[in-house]
């Protein structure tokens, strides 16, 4: 990350609630300062459709819960220098992973949603991404460089991590690792 060029930043959301992205936006006026230092090259709140190459920093929120998301995650990892798990769903699985307490939780949740009650010849949607058996935190699937816990992590914490990284420093997470 050179100091002169704008840093190429991306954000991605997987199986989460978008609360971490909202917390990102909760930086309020600090977004104006951020806008001077970064270019948002891919994000659900921006219109680029294909994840680009040579991304400096990617923030990912949400657990990885279906095959399409897993493929996306791997693609992001291969095109990003610094990958950050943003928020408890990405870091621990959190509420999205509550289904993991059931065996074959992918079947369990689909059955309850689409086949229950049993007297109806209901159909589980088929032309949709296949669910993974469990919902996983990101580092169980790919290498993660930094973690920002919280549900959601506060805007102050997100701002701290970004500011440190942009300045070339390593964020210190002792006392900044509160889940929930």
């Amino acid at each position: 990350m050179t100091q002169d060029a704008k840093v190429r930043v991306a954000t991605v959301w997987l199986s989460g609630c978008s609360g971490c992205h909202m917390s990102f936006l909760d930086q309020d006026e600090r977004l104006i300062d951020l806008a001077k230092k970064i270019t948002l090259v891919y994000s659900p709140i921006a219109d680029v459709k294909e994840f680009p190459e040579n991304v400096d920093v990617t923030l990912i929120e949400g657990a990885v819960a279906n095959e399409e998301q897993l493929a996306m995650l791997k693609k992001v990892r291969s095109r990003t220098k610094v990958l950050i798990s943003l928020g408890d769903c990405a870091v621990t699985g959190n509420v999205t992973a509550l289904r993991n307490s059931w065996h074959h939780s992918d079947q369990a949740i689909l059955e309850r949603a689409y086949k229950d009650p049993a007297d109806l010849n209901a159909a589980i949607p088929t032309a949709v991404p296949k669910l993974l058996i469990k919902a996983h935190p990101l580092h169980e699937m790919i290498k993660v460089d930094f973690y920002i816990p919280g549900c959601p992590p506060s805007a102050d914490l997100i701002n701290y991590v970004l500011v440190e990284l942009l300045a070339g420093r390593t964020p210190m997470m002792e006392g900044r690792s509160k889940y929930g």
């Binding site: 609630c17 917390s23 909760d26 948002l40 209901a122 949607p125 949709v128």
Partner: protein, 480 residues
């Protein structure tokens, strides 16, 4: 609606500048004209299953995580369902604070949609460079407006934060039968001090938008402009309402066709259908059937359903708004944007009234009770429409069954009609341009979908399942 079957297609994936995961598949005829467009929702988490076995008082915390933009809506619907299970109505101040928090939520969510998500289209242009067509592009090109949006959203978020301790997922504060702590005078004063700026911002934006409307005649005409039913909560005398009240459904001419005085009886009026190509189900008005019984919810619907607003400034705006439609019913989806701004005004006025009421500072906010009923339903108007939480518990209070009907879900048939309409008008497959596809997305943004919410949970409502073959012919049908 047809089943996709190897037709030529154009896929827009992902839809950006909305909340959640969705794609649009545009199906083409042999001559490359648009046959139909499908709005596909592609994520699913399974809340109704994994909440089974949890103590009912954890439901606000868990369901809050269905959505990070409208967690307060879930907190409130969930708390109301829990109130029903303990068999208590909260102390007056707790209700006032919950309502005030709800106003904060509506303000911040509407500001988010208008400024952060939709205004890049409206202000930078539907055909403008995609790389710049986002909040950061807005900050660069229209800094004063971007700042106004950021501050308005901040006001809504701070309203939530000062009451409940946290901006997003503030589940620690709410509890069955009330809330855990009162509002301090210091915090109330802080909010009151910031309110005039928020009011001014909203009025300025509303004026600006009304002046711009003339330039959007084509969009008004073609972005999801079709008649439908509308549903929303209203007060006892038909006024705009978001927290309590009666659920009302009107037809395209404004006639009241259903009045659900007890919102817990929702399943008498609304049914759901399933299509194999989307995780989101398709609610419809039962008296008419599927898919003719398509109805819309959310700001546009609420303003159509309500006869007036109880606050003066918003009421004036509502009167002007209703003039655009026959019998006061406005049908174009594009006007969700306009409706959203009027609602924001209403919420700020309501927040002002609540903050000025001395009872808002009373310390009596908690109740103490445990399981007294084994079933509870909570209904609230989320920013995007009617939200229903329905729980059943065992005698210990552990959830045995959970059903959540989400605002965005109700609009599902309308989504598909809208994207089809826009695709047919603008998408020329032979000379495809990015701006054409952006318009398909823009009509979705007008609805302001919240798909994380919508794919939490699929309700256990009466289902109408149709099996169609490759030609779209009905092969089998089961109705529960």
């Amino acid at each position: 609606m047809v089943k996709p079957n190897n037709e030529k297609k154009i896929t827009i994936s992902p839809i950006t500048r909305i909340e959640g995961h969705a794609q649009v598949t545009i199906l083409l005829n042999d001559d490359d004209s648009v046959k139909e467009a499908l709005f596909k929702v592609v994520d699913f988490r399974g809340f109704e299953k994994f909440t089974e076995g949890r103590p009912f008082y954890e439901m606000p915390s868990i369901t809050s995580r269905a959505c990070g933009i409208c967690p307060v809506s879930h907190l409130l619907a969930s708390a109301k369902a829990c109130d029903a299970i303990v068999g208590l109505s909260p102390p007056k101040t707790a209700e006032m604070l919950r309502r005030l928090m709800h106003m904060g939520q509506l303000i911040q969510s509407h500001a988010l949609n208008f400024f952060h998500l939709s205004s890049p289209d409206l202000l930078l242009g539907l055909d403008s460079d995609p790389a710049q067509r986002n909040i950061f592009g807005l900050i660069e090109k229209q800094p004063e407006l971007a700042m106004r949006g950021i501050k308005l959203r901040k006001f809504g978020q701070e309203l939530i934060e000062k009451i409940a301790g946290k901006r997003i997922h503030s589940s620690d504060w709410i509890m069955p039968g009330g809330a855990k702590w009162p509002l301090t005078k210091e915090r109330a004063d802080y909010l009151s001090a910031n309110l005039p700026e928020a009011l001014d911002s909203t009025q300025k934006t509303l004026e600006m938008y009304k002046n711009m409307l003339g330039g959007f005649e084509e969009e008004v005409e073609n972005f999801g402009n079709f008649p439908s039913y509308y549903m929303g909560l209203v007060t006892g005398d038909g006024g705009l309402e978001h927290y309590d009240g009666t659920l009302r459904i009107i037809d395209k001419n404004g006639k009241v066709v259903a009045e659900c005085v007890d919102p817990t009886k929702y399943s008498e009026f609304i049914g759901e259908a399933v299509e194999p190509w989307s995780f989101m189900k398709f609610p419809y008005f039962k008296a008419v059937g599927y898919p003719e019984g398509a109805y819309r919810v959310g700001p546009l619907a609420r303003l159509n359903v309500a006869s007036h607003c109880e606050t003066p400034l918003a009421n004036e705006e509502l009167k002007q708004f209703k003039k655009m439609g026959k019998n006061g019913v406005v049908q174009s989806t594009f006007h969700y944007h306009y409706a959203r701004l009027i609602e924001t005004l209403f919420c700020i006025e309501t927040a002002k009234n609540l903050l000025e009421d001395p009872e808002i500072l009373s310390e009596h906010v908690t109740s103490k009770a445990l399981v007294n009923r084994y079933e509870g339903v909570g209904v609230a108007e989320a920013p995007r429409g009617t939200l229903i939480h329905h729980y059943k518990v065992d005698p210990q209070g552990l959830i045995t069954w959970n059903n959540m009907i989400i605002a965005t879900e109700h609009n599902n048939i309308a989504y598909n009609m809208a994207v089809t309409q826009v695709a047919k008008k603008y998408v020329k497959a032979k000379t495809l341009q990015e701006g054409m596809l952006n318009r398909v997305e823009a009509v979705i943004r007008a609805f302001d979908p919240c798909l994380s919410c919508a794919t939490h949970a699929i309700g256990n409502m009466p289902l109408d399942v149709r099996l169609v073959d490759a030609d779209g012919k009905l092969v089998d049908r089961k109705v529960r």
